[in-house]
Each structure stands twice: as C-alpha cells, then as structure tokens.
Amino acid sequence: MTKIKTPGISGLILDEPLLWEKGKKGRRGMSIPVNDVPEAVLEETLQGQGPDFPDLSEVDVVRHYTRLSQWNFGVDTGMYPLGSCTMKYNPKINETMAATPEITSAHPMLDDEYSQGTLKIMYDLQHYLAAITGLPGVSLQPAAGAHGELTGMLIFAAYHKSHGSKRTKILIPDTAHGTNPASAALCGYKPVPVKSDSNGILNIQTVAELMDEECAGIMITNPNTLGLFETNIRKIADIVHSKGGLVYGDGANMNAVMGIIDAEKCGVDVMHLNLHKTFSTPHGGGGPGAGPVCVTEELTKFLPTPLAVKDGSSYRLKYDYPDSIGRVHGFHGNFGVLVRAYSYILSMGADNLKKVSQLAVLSAAYIKEQLKGTLPLAFNRPCMHECVFSDKLLHDDGVSTLDLAKRLIDNGYHPPTIYFPLVVPGAIMIEPTETECKEDIDQFIGVIKKIVQEAKENPELLHQAPTIAKVRRLDETKAARNPCLRG
C-alpha cells in the first residue's frame, strides 16, 4: 500500500480534573469592586447559604479551559466534513466586529434613538437575507434553525386560522431534518411522512395523493439531506397551494444555492436560514446559532414582532402588526450572531456568495467522483453541496460506518455525518464546504481510500479506533442506563 501522509499524529495532551476537584477555599479568580456604600442586610428568611462552588484562582481557571480546549477538534484545527452542518471557515474579522464595544454594551430596551447603529444592522440584514432568498419579509428573532422551524409552523397556524380553518396534518419527506416533525408537532400538526422516490427526491404524484385540505402544507429541505436538488419543487408547491396549503423551505442547505435559486419562484412561502451554517458564524460547540425566517409578502404580517424599519434617515422598531404571531425571543434574537453574518455578507458581496455555492458544490461533486469507486453512492445523481455514501461494501469486510468514522479521527479528520439521512443504510454524508482547498480535499480522499483498504487487510485497526484521541470509544449505553448528569 502506498504510504499516505495524514495530519493525524499524536502529541502531548495534559489531563485536567473537573473544576470541583481543584481549588482551595479562599482563592479568587476575578476582581470584585470595593464596597463604597453602607452594608445592607437582607431579611434572614430569604437568605440562603450560597452555592457550593470551589474557590479557584485566575490561573486555575485559565489553565483548566486551555487544557479542555486542547481536547477539542474545530474547523480551525482541520477538515470537518460534517454533512448537513456546513462546517466552513469562520472568519476572524466577524468576531472582531461582533466584539465592537458599542455593540456588546448595547442595551436591548432603550428607546430607538439610542440604538441607531444596532437597528441599522437589523434593518440591513433583514434586507440582505430577503435579497438572497427572494422572500421579502424577514424576522431575525429565531435563535437557531429549529427555532426558525417552530416560528415557521406558528406562521402556518396563524395563516390557516386567519382563513378560518384549523388544519391537523403536515407533509414531511423522509429526507427531512429530524427537527421538522418535532417543530410541527408543537403546533398541533401530525406529521405525514412522504417517501422519496428511487431517485432520492420527492415525486409529484406521491405528494398529490397525500395532500388534502386537512394538511397545513409541506416542509421541504432543498437541496434535501441526500444532497440532491428537489427538481419537482415548483410543481409540488403548486399542488400544495391548490389545496390551500403552504410550503415551508428548510434553508439549512442554502450554502449550495445562493444566487442560484429564488425561493419564492420555487413556490416556498416560509424559509429559515441557519446563519451558523451558510453565513459562517461559528458553531460554538453547539450554539449559539441564529435561524432567521424569511416569508412572502402575503405572510409578512404574521412575522414575530418587532421588526426594524426605516423612517427617512432613522431606524426604529415597529411593533404594530396586529396579526403577528408575537415574540419568539426575549429580545432581538442572538444579536451577536447576526452581527457576524452581517459582516460576512458585507465582506463577500453578491458575486462571492454565488461563488461560495458554486465551489461548495464543486468540492462535493469532486469528492463524490473520486470516491464513488471506493464507497457505494446512495444515489448516483448530480449532487449539490454534499454527497452520501452507504456502508454496503464496508459490511462485507465486517466493519461499520462507525468504525470508518472513528478511524478518520486517528488520521486527523473530524468524521462526516454518519447514519443520517435514515433512508440510506449506514449513511456517510460528506460536506466539504467551499473553504477547503484542493490539496486538503485530495488528502482526505486519499485517507478514506486508505481506510477502506485497511478494512479489508486489517479491520482491527478500524474496530479499535480511535487510539490517539484524548479518550477511546466511550460507553454510551452505560451513560444512558445509569445517568450521571452532574457532580
């Protein structure tokens, strides 16, 4: 076998106990101002003991988190081809912009005249996202993708209510994100699964048979979670609309189609965007994200309030939307995340955003082409920003998708998304994004080929992996059976 060079080598990792396993009573890790007013005494019955936290010094805290950080793999560490998650590079200037002192110290409840800068950011971002999707109404409040989905479903419910009907079901394709059914259920909709056809996309006839006047509409992810474009979307939308339903577009995969598709022309009525995917804001180990919702002109009146509007040369928050579903967030959403996306859009401009989608699709298509002889493709059709393989061949060698994923760790890669979408057995879903250069993509392809060969020659290497990470495979059954959720 030719020797493939991989980025994964071992290095010194320092162990670190839990916070409460360190410290000494009397230490302090932070300055507290001196008391310049008289001491006051709270009535005894309301006073508690104070929490049982260890006392730590500043160095204790700094070293603790520095060591913890070294046990993590991030986009800045290396390639993170996690399908459906768009783990692209998170530009540093966006962090600097979000850390502008006048932005970080902005209070959300002051009168509009005090907050012109932050209101302009909201107003402009609403317009930029409208321009990118083709849907004119935008609310920035939803704090994450699933929060955007919920907001969308609340808008569906408000729309049907305004037409004097209460619908009970919603169509959800089998390739949808797992949060879709849960978001719809919160609004009282029973999900009706829609099977995708042998090409991995939605069939017009199937939708026509399922859609009726009890159905609030359909939730479509496009490109879908197989990385395929739903080519029938316009005709499906017409069917749904003809029965009085609405079309929800899950925009989680917008990174593939900026400047390529117009959501309104696709027949989409409501769509959320994941700013932490397409618009490069960091995922932060699980959040915070932002999931703004874009809607057609007709549905704008249902958006959460307030919206930022412009009067002459000044900006203000407008609350007066009597049909609004109301607030979905305590203030204006994850504003700091919005600033990062705003900076990204301003840095890119229209041409570069379109190029992002083109290169994201090119990189995925390239990986698909280079690996289709090594791993079986789920669907051999033109892919968009991600490609999905199955574990059929790996099975023959007695190894699983999980084994392949763990072996990638030892080679210095974050594994792709695995076992999703559910319609593909042992799915391996690879999304390289546009920010990985060709050499790195080539090296990744080489490593996958090497691992597949190892699976035939020495499957134990895969079964035992990872061996050089901070920990080896963890006992998830034990964690769930006897939950230890705190110290």
Binding site: T66, M109, L110, I121, I261, Y366, L485
Partner: protein, 443 residues
Amino acid sequence: MRYLPHTDEEIKEMLEVVGRKSLDELFCSVPDDCRYEGDIPLPLPLNEWALKEHMSELADSMTVTPKFKILIGAGSNHHHIPATIGALISRSEFLTAYTPYQPEVAQGTLQGIFEYQTYTARLLGMDVANASIYDGASALAEALLMGLRIGRKKKTVAISTAIHPHYREVVKTYLEPTEYTLLELPFGEDGRTDLSGLKEIKGLAAVALQSPNFFGVIEDLETASSAIHDAGALAISCFTEPLAFGLLKNPGSCGIDICCGEGQSFGMTRSFGGPGLGMFGCKEKYTRNMPGRLVGETTDIDGKRGFVLTLATREQHIRREKATSNICSNQGICTLIATMYMSSLGGSGIRELAQLNYNKTEYFKSELIKKGADILFDSPTFNEFVVDFKHDFLPAYERLQEKGIIAGLDLGRFYPSFAGKYLFCATETAAKEDIDAVVKEVL
C-alpha cells in the same frame, strides 16, 4: 476572496474530474423556473479595513456604556466581565467545533457542559440541569410545556404578571396554536404574585413565578410553592438575574420543581439582547420529561473517565414528533462563559458580589426615599426596584440623559397603570457617585 482557496487552475482540474465544462453546469438539476434572475442586490464587498471603518461609523451612533451610565436591567444586566473570559472563549477549538456528536474529539466541550450542568444545578438547588436552551424567555415557555407533559390531562397553566413582559409574550406565542389554556395571575400591593385564586382553577398543570421578579421583588417562593402544590400543580420559577442566588435561598430548597431563566449576567455582554443563555433545571424525577441536551459521565473502553451526550431518546432525532422539544442545539459557548464566570467567582466570590449588588440597590433606594420618592413595593428586592417620584420625573430624566445617565425605564409601555413609574437597576458597576448623581436630580 480570502476565504475561497480554489485557484482558477484548480477549478478547471476539478471540473474536468467531475465532467463539467463550467461551474454553472454543476447546477444542471435546477429547473429554469426555480432560478435566481440576475445578481443578488447586495452592496459591493468591503475589504477588512473598509468593514472596520463601516462598523466604527455605526458604533458612533450608539448610546452605550461606558460613555453613558445605563441604570436599566430589565432582563439584560450590566456586570463586569473579567478579561480571562474573552481570552478563553476565543480559543477556536471551542468556538469552531460543532455539537459534540463525536465525543472522542469533543471532550473539551463535553466536560465543559458537564461542569456547566453541575454549577447550574448547584446554583438553583435543582437535582439536574440541562445543557441550556436559547434564552430565558424560551426556557420559560419550554418549562410550561414540560409541566403540561407531566400534568398529562391537565390543560391549564398560570403565569404571574410580575414575570418579564417579553417572557410572557413568548409563552403566549408558544401556547397559541395548542389546546392549552394560559392564565395570568395578578400581583398584590407588595409586588408579589397573588396566588389566592389558584384553588378555583380547574386542571391546573403548572404555575410559574419569577424571582426576583420584573420589579426586582423577591417572591416568597417557599410559601408560593406550597400553595401551588396544594392546588395540585407543579411549581415553576424563572429569573433574569441569576446572581441573586449568591445571596438568596435557592429555588430548589424552596420547593420549586422546575427552575429556569436567563444566564446573561454570568459573563455575557448585553449585545442588544443576545446571545444569552437559557438556564434550565428540574427535580430528578422529571429528568426524562426535560427538553434540551444533556451531557453525562461515562468511561471509555480502557476505563478512563469521559463524557457523552446522553438520554437522547427524549430528543427529536430519535423520537421525532414525540420528542420532549424540537430544540436540537444549546447555547454552546455561552454555557462555557457562564461556567468560567461562576468558577472565577467561586463560592465565596459569588456571595460577596451578590451582597455588593444588594448593598448598591439598598443605598439607591434609601437615598431616593430621603428625597421624598416612594419605592412602589415594600417587599425586599434584588438589583431592581420601582420608583414612584410622585411628580413628573421626565424633566429630570432628560437632564440626566444630557449628563450621560439613562435613569431607569418607564413602565408605562408594559403596565399602563404604571406610566411615569420607573424601574431602576444598580449592580456592582454603578459607583456611589453615579447613584448620587441621579438622586441629586430628583426634586
């Protein structure tokens, strides 16, 4: 563009491999009637230096601390943030990682969340805490939905009108399309929630209070939770100022079943209201009804301690529409910030800081009373309180504004009968002279 590494030559090579003549041809599966026409109407791109200039112009149009002293909390609180936090969270191994689905390469995030859950549970006196929810308001909505799940056939929940008005709006939004009934409970002249009518409510699943409430008033949670339990409902408490629990009895020891609220005070900037942190905990017996992610301790195949996401069977990727919530993220990095903050203070520090905050508001109140103002509610408060100046305060408010002090929030927007009454906040960041400056203007 500096984020796009592909050279023209590489693009050509890659196109050849995939058998396409141009980048446009990659999109052959997109039908014509779906296509974007023309260019996206966006401003021309700004380079790094131009972007900085643009942002600094926007910054100049803001009225903010430290140029201005803003004596308003109302769910977004001003506290000092140690420099360590900025330095530590900018470590991109934390910042640029995804949800820890591959635990072997995410032990930093996972141990960090496990520690956050522990600190949160200890702070609130709850048996368990989750890995966080979006913010205080959505946490309250989720807590009420959780109460309804536990209450099964009980279809009604009641919330105090002394809860932050925005939180109540979010709850209303979440419950609107459901079959559930949402009632609001009045507050009495002491500023505390009036629970006298609970027993008449049929099918009551849960009752929610905020403490300290929107008026800064510390609710009597012990009495409240027994009244709520007597009415056959679960007791939920929420908060916008978690620092209070450095001094107050924690909600768990007062008999609260589910406790949630906004954690922004713990090391997060106000940033126009987000991102913050929805802290969320409950009694152990309700763990499996809890929304949101959980991290648990386990061992690896060599017996070494490690952490994983666990009890996922509650969650939407397994239970689909029957999940305990649709939430599939947490506030990630914000949980680390909160734990960095709590651990930097330590047990003795959080006590000292909470007491200092208490001293400031008590001083503020006593000086205003000396000038003839009334404190609207006479119950004990923490960090915030409502002032009735008994005359038009607006001229003084405007004079103070000219001096760079934003003196309180007029409550008329939220409680029409309280128009002209102001909600004030003073934390450790308010120096005695700032407080004295306000008091001086009160005639």
